[in-house]
Amino acid sequence: MYQKIMVPVDLAHQDRLSKALDTAADLAKHYGGSLHFVGVTTGTPSEVAHTPAEYAEKLKAFAEAEGAKRGLTADSKAYTSHDPAVDLSEKLLQAIDDSGCDLVVMASHLPGLPEHVFASHAGAVASHTGVSVFVVR
């Protein structure tokens, strides 16, 4: 049912990703699909990488390691945003279009009071795309 599963990852917080990664890998195995990792970085140096090019390489290495570990086909694509704290969901929607994926598995924090003011990125992605979105808490 799902051929290409997109997994947005935050390389700065890999520890918080394990549940989403497991979920995505299990679904991919079940349906015989592949994984597509997407990361969004800034033009300025961040805690992950000094340049967008370095970020893209790190993301590629991450995808290859995940693919090898799970025995799945995995690729990656890095996006640059001027203001990721705000534009992240927009970039992810673009990534959905670019990749032609049919499912998004993404980690999100528990919604609370701030979500009434600031939309969570997972929520924003789910409400603006035609593909299925699996939000992992």
Partner: protein, 536 residues
């Protein structure tokens, strides 16, 4: 930027090898339901000091007003030579860098491509760099210099005329007045911004250091910039930015209030100004929450279009040919008087060089971390030569045109007997001039809208900058943080307005400008050293 850029290598750049990781000193506390990601201790020190300062201004308004009233002239008259000299150094350095082989260095590496097109880029740098000041001083400053120059006794120690003035000689007074105004809004401020912005961009994009003022000092202090040396530098930058911004916000509120009073009879009072600052801060909040592209950039572009329309209007309905020939005459006058005006030593026009020039330089310097960092953030992919050309020369030319159109037209009106403009209060001079031209109701309204939008574009971009500095160079800190700083800026502006008015604001800007001028001079050395090590 297209998504492909992230995948193409950015080409050769000479990164600095350091073990420091962006955000390594950050803490992530939760305040209520909001998560933060802030630099420890820069966020705390700057936040608390500002609160103490504001509390002092509010609890002891009388004492604060006295202190500030004394502080500003004391600083600008004691250190006038230092401010003027520093300004000259920045101009010379920027021009030398532009024509030297170092101009070939590209920000972001040899193959980097620009993040923003010219229109959006230029709109943002202009809106951040001059903003409200152009509205406030566009008419009032040329008129002030013209009046003081042409007056009897110009050139005497009591006179506020630039240089020796031109008593009784209206034509020469006009040239001198325009030259002096352009001097304050031309090469010097933009050179200060260009140097700071260039240094920040170089150390972030090419050297891989965090986007923070301290990174510029890596060639000087080495690893120590990550310790207390760097904390002090960044904290000073936060102060300078916050007080520099608050000064502009205060000026903006005063002028918007004056304009609204002029147009709609809304009373000029502390209450009106507080309401204005609150309303404008609210718009700025919407803009920062919408983000750099959807909020700040869009507002800057709206701003630029409105400003261009107003400028065009004044050129068309004013004496068009006089403005166009005036543009070249003023450019010439600027070139002619520039050496004398920028001379830091042995000045006989203390009122002018200390009260105007020295204050302006302190104000521009206090603005420079903010404008510089903002320009740096949107300038990835430009070459040093292109960068300096667009950040130094083009805005200077636009300033000449703006001042010629507004100031020149106003001087012509005053010479023609319209004394209302000369008699009006500083913040009202723009509206007094617009009243003499056709469609005054519409243009005055556009004027007020422009003041307000300029106000907003300063406040929102400033919040982004302070947020980045206090987040240790991270540009993706949680959104509530920038909301905090935008709100805080509004509060500081209100507190300073109530506790001593504009004088307090200016004193705050000047007193943070002074230590920061020292910081910037050191930074020049860091910049040159950093550029020399880049592949060209």
């Amino acid at each position: 930027m297209s998504d492909q850029d992230a995948l193409t290598p950015d080409g050769a750049a000479n990164q600095i090898e350091t073990d420091y990781e962006v955000g390594q000193d950050n803490i992530q506390p939760s305040i209520g339901p909001f998560g933060f990601d802030i630099h420890n201790p820069v966020f705390m020190i700057s936040g608390l000091t500002i609160i103490v300062f504001v509390a002092f201004a509010l609890i002891f308004p009388g004492y604060a007003a006295d202190l500030f009233g004394w502080l500003r002239p004391a600083l600008t008259s004691t250190f006038d030579w230092f401010f003027l000299l520093a300004g000259d150094i920045f101009v010379v350095l920027a021009l030398v860098l532009m024509v030297s082989p170092l101009g070939k260095v590209r920000l972001g590496g040899k193959e980097a491509t620009p993040d923003y097109g010219y229109a959006g880029w230029f709109a943002m740098l202009f809106a951040a760099g001059m903003g409200i000041g152009l509205m406030f001083f566009g008419v009032s400053e040329p008129i002030s210099h013209f009046s003081s120059s042409v007056a009897e006794g110009a050139g005497s120690p009591d006179s506020w005329a630039p240089l020796a003035g031109a008593a009784g000689n209206a034509d020469e007074a006009r040239r001198l007045g325009m030259a002096a105004t352009i001097f304050h809004w031309g090469l010097h401020p933009w050179a200060i911004y260009a140097i700071v912005a260039l240094a920040l961009a170089l150390f972030a994009y090419n050297k891989g250091l965090p986007l923070s003022i301290r990174s510029i000092f890596y060639p000087i202090f080495g690893e120590r910039v990550w310790g207390w040396t760097g904390h002090v530098i960044d904290t000073l930058a936060v102060f300078a930015t916050l007080f520099g911004l608050a000064t502009s916000l205060g000026i903006g509120a005063q002028q918007a209030n004056a304009g609204l009073n002029f147009l709609f009879g809304i009373p000029e009072s502390d209450l009106s100004m507080v309401v204005l600052i609150c309303a404008i801060t609210a718009i700025a909040l919407v803009s920062v929450v919408a983000g750099l592209d959807a909020g700040v950039k869009r507002l800057s572009e709206i701003n630029m279009v409105l400003a261009a329309l107003l400028l065009l209007f004044v050129i068309v309905v004013g004496s068009t040919t006089a403005i166009l020939t005036g543009f070249f005459q003023n450019l010439l006058a600027y070139g002619e008087y520039l050496p004398a005006l920028s001379n830091p030593f042995g000045r006989d026009d203390a009122n002018f060089s200390q009260g105007w020039t020295s204050f302006y330089w302190a104000w521009w310097i206090s603005w420079s971390p903010f404008v510089g960092m903002f320009i740096a953030r949107v300038s990835r992919g430009r070459s040093v030569r292109e960068f300096i050309f667009c950040v130094l020369l083009i805005p200077s030319i636009v300033s000449v045109l703006w001042m010629t159109a507004f100031g020149g037209t106003a001087i012509t009106l005053v010479e023609g007997g319209v004394t209302e403009i000369a008699d009006a209060a500083l913040e009202l001079k723009l509206f007094a001039m617009l009243a003499e031209l056709p469609l005054a109701a519409i243009t005055s309204f556009v004027g007020i809208v422009l003041v307000i939008v300029f106000f907003v574009t300063s406040s929102d971009s400033g919040s982004l900058v302070i947020d980045t500095i206090t987040a240790g160079g991270k540009v993706d800190a949680p959104v509530p943080q920038r909301v905090f700083w935008a709100t805080f800026e509004g509060l500081v502006a209100i507190a300073l307005l109530l506790g001593g008015g504009l004088v307090a604001l200016q004193a705050a800007a000047v007193s943070t400008g002074l230590p920061f001028a020292v910081v910037l001079l050191l930074g020049c050395y860091g910049l040159v050293k950093g550029l020399m090590s880049e592949p060209r």
